[in-house]
């Protein structure tokens, strides 16, 4: 039985086995490869997408659980005319990515954080941005989040 859901604003009927993690449905059935496989155990966050607006590690969520829900992937962040989301623009301005593999997940986590908090503090950034990056782009991720929310680029130690 097909699973009805919505991906990046489009209604889709998914044919995958119900226990298949959402990640593999997005990548292999829908061909949206911007969402990455990193660990398979929700430890790294490379597979982060939004499920009804919540940042979700799609490698560990069976597709059966997203029936009737609305999913956004990195490909769905741009506006209809192709303009990049403000967070994506901030990512380019701060020259965040190195290898870039974790960045789709980082951006999805950051967008969700900003939607929730408006102007996240450093402590809120620390708490929400648990996605791993082996290249060590964390300082620039912080800088981009701060810039995207109208805050000074440089964090100040001790400020909350």
């Amino acid at each position: 039985m097909a699973i009805q859901t919505s991906i990046n604003g489009k209604a889709v009927a998914l044919s995958a086995e119900p226990d298949t993690p959402l990640l593999w449905v997005i990548r292999e059935e829908l061909g949206l490869t911007g969402t990455k496989f990193g660990c398979g155990v929700a430890a790294c966050g490379a597979c982060t997408v939004h499920v009804d607006g919540e940042p979700t590690r799609s490698c560990s969520l069976p597709v059966s659980e997203v029936a009737g829900k609305s999913i956004t992937t990195i490909e769905g962040l741009k506006s209809a005319d192709g303009t990049l989301h403000a967070v994506q623009q901030a990512w380019i301005a701060a020259q965040v990515p190195q290898c870039g593999y974790c960045q789709s997940g980082q951006i999805m986590a950051a967008v969700a954080l900003i939607e929730k908090t408006g102007r996240p503090s450093d402590a809120q950034i620390d708490e929400a941005m648990t996605n791993l990056c082996r290249c060590g782009t964390y300082p620039r991720i912080r800088k981009a989040i701060r810039a995207a929310t109208g805050q000074a680029a440089q964090a100040v130690e001790g400020a909350v």
């Binding site: 990455k36 660990c39 430890a43 020259q95 870039g100 593999y101 941005m129 791993l132 060590g136 782009t137």
Partner: protein
Amino acid sequence: MTDTPTADIAPEAPHKRKGVKRRAFLIGGVAIVGAGLFGISIADSNAAKDAKARITGEGEHSFATWLKIGEDDIITIYSPHTDIGQGSNTGLAQMLAEELDAMWDQVRIVSAPAEPAFANVGLGRAFLADMTGKPAIINGIPESFLSFIARQMNLQMTGGSTALRFTGQVTFQKVGAATRLALIETAAKRLNVPVGELTTQDSRVIHAKSSRSLRYGELAAEAATLSLDNEPKLKDPSQYRLMRQSIQRLDIPAKVDGSAQYGIDFAIPNMRVATIQAAPVRGGKLTSVDTAPALAIKGVEKVIKLDDAVAVVAKGYWPAISGLRALAPNFTDGGHADVSTASILAAHDALFAKGEADGEAGEGDVQAGLGAKPIEAKYQVPFLHHAMMEPFALTAHFKDGKLDIWGGMQDPLATKMLAVDVSGLDADNVTFHPMIIGGSFGRRLPMYMEIVGQVTKLAMQLPYPVKLIWSREEEVAQGAYRPQSSAVLTAALTDKKRIAAYRNDYAQPESAESETVFPYTLPAVSRRHFAHVSNQQTGAWRSVNSTQQGFYNESFMDELAHAAGEDPVIFRRNHLKADSRHLRVLDEVAARSGWNTPLPAGRGRGVALVESFKTIVAMVVEASVGADGMPKVHKVTTVVDAGSIVNPDAAMAQIEGGTIMGLSSAIGEAITLEKGAVQQSNLSDYLLLNMAQTPLVQDIHFLNSGAPMGGIGEPGVPPAAPALANALFAATGKRVRNLPIMTQAKG
């Protein structure tokens, strides 16, 4: 050929030289090849023709292998390096475009085809000069011979922080400059004016006197027929318009909208997905496996047995991994069941006790200088895993006698040649298509890329294309780890707080001698290597031996400073040459970090000074220990002298990231062994530093001394661990001698 001064060419293909480490590989093999400047010499005209045929279409003209100018003014540069995210391709493009005076918006840089015609022959000469300081050796070797050997070695590697300092400086700047001269010569003829009256800017040759100019695109066809100047004069840095500028990286836009295609993203119609498990005890073999439980899973199509592994082929990754997990394969332990982290430590201790070193270097009479009561400290560091975020993934398709492979590896040409070997096909029938790499840090080097052999073996027996993806569990358990290593450091101090003699005994598989630099001037120094090899595969981990050697030496220097009752910065100063680059870097970091200023209670500062890959880095870490016992890094101040910098912002990113990788390994990373097998299973128990653990403040400064260009991808790593350990000592009085700081007890 055998009577050249460089006859120690290893006879086997690169991948067969197991256990030969990256540096040794370069010295024993590639470094000796030297190079024709442009890769294509007269005697190598077949390669030149081949290169040209592979990249030029209608209206496109090839220059010196690596450059193509279109009649539409589009300039395409073919990079023999793999940009793993360090920004090296943008830097290489800046260097070539600078000397060419190209219009930046019209410059593209792509991966060179993984073909012998594009072997990176420039890298070999530079490496030899770098390692031996005797460029005369290579100058005596005919260029045609050198080009030939570079192709024989399949050299197309990225590693050793070499892209800009070698390929960039030795080849790409000169290609740009020589091509510019050919374009000017062509324009002079066409405009009928002297060459001296012409200038270049934004991809045009300009004759100011007559207000005429010609586009590079309209000169390219004719210019491409000229022979290029092999030693063109390069620009004075004061004329730079692109180099030394923080130009935005060319690869970044595709990495923020999900469109960048990594190896794991490749797909073609009819493709199947496979995943694999090799013997958990490295060296073991597959003895038997009941395939039925996997085949019972919907979507699983085949279980394939290899000599030391079992693979499951399915319609997608999920059924493949589900199938693999359903299996209970039987592997031998290869006789390694008694290998453990503890057994390796015991073996190191036994070697030290025996005292028979496998290699020794240094100067002065250390034994006499140490006297009867030297200061001694023992250090231990664990195996480290690369943990690149993209697990290994390659797609292969064997059809009509031809094999195609897609994915990201650090040496595309060596990847192709390994597939040639494993498949038994002719080289002309094997093509490797390089794709974007999701991190590597040394893991995807040609000496240990077993996935190439695996996917080739699968594809050769399947009627459809197959993408082989390693699970993260496989990736953690089957690494090419930075070796577990131990060291005993011994020294004696004079009554004037100076080191009289210094000994560094270290145990690990390979000697670190060729790549580590000890910056201090001492009357007597000895470095002794004690070789111990376990069943684990070890390899180059970002900055290679400089990580553990930096930790040993800079921790011990700190201990000696305290033993002498001297400030750690002053103690180091007293052992550095006056006016040396090292001294300047150290003084700068002391000043910028406020070394002598007061700190809040519970915090300490630690300093470390490490040179690696010809770049000198000094780092001051401010740290404390949190209520949870975890070290907390508050601030890092770093001063870097890499000679000169091509792209300041990209270089800054490398130092930021390198520092974080160094801190990460010091705080939480360890691969441990029990019964010959790796105990960690995923990123849930191989712990990488996260955002909250990253210091809020990283203050990084470059001193551009003008010395020969050093590397930038690796040198940020080594000082981080000792600077942190020294800071924790200053904060707590407890000396960190074993890494990681947070021991990951397991089991």
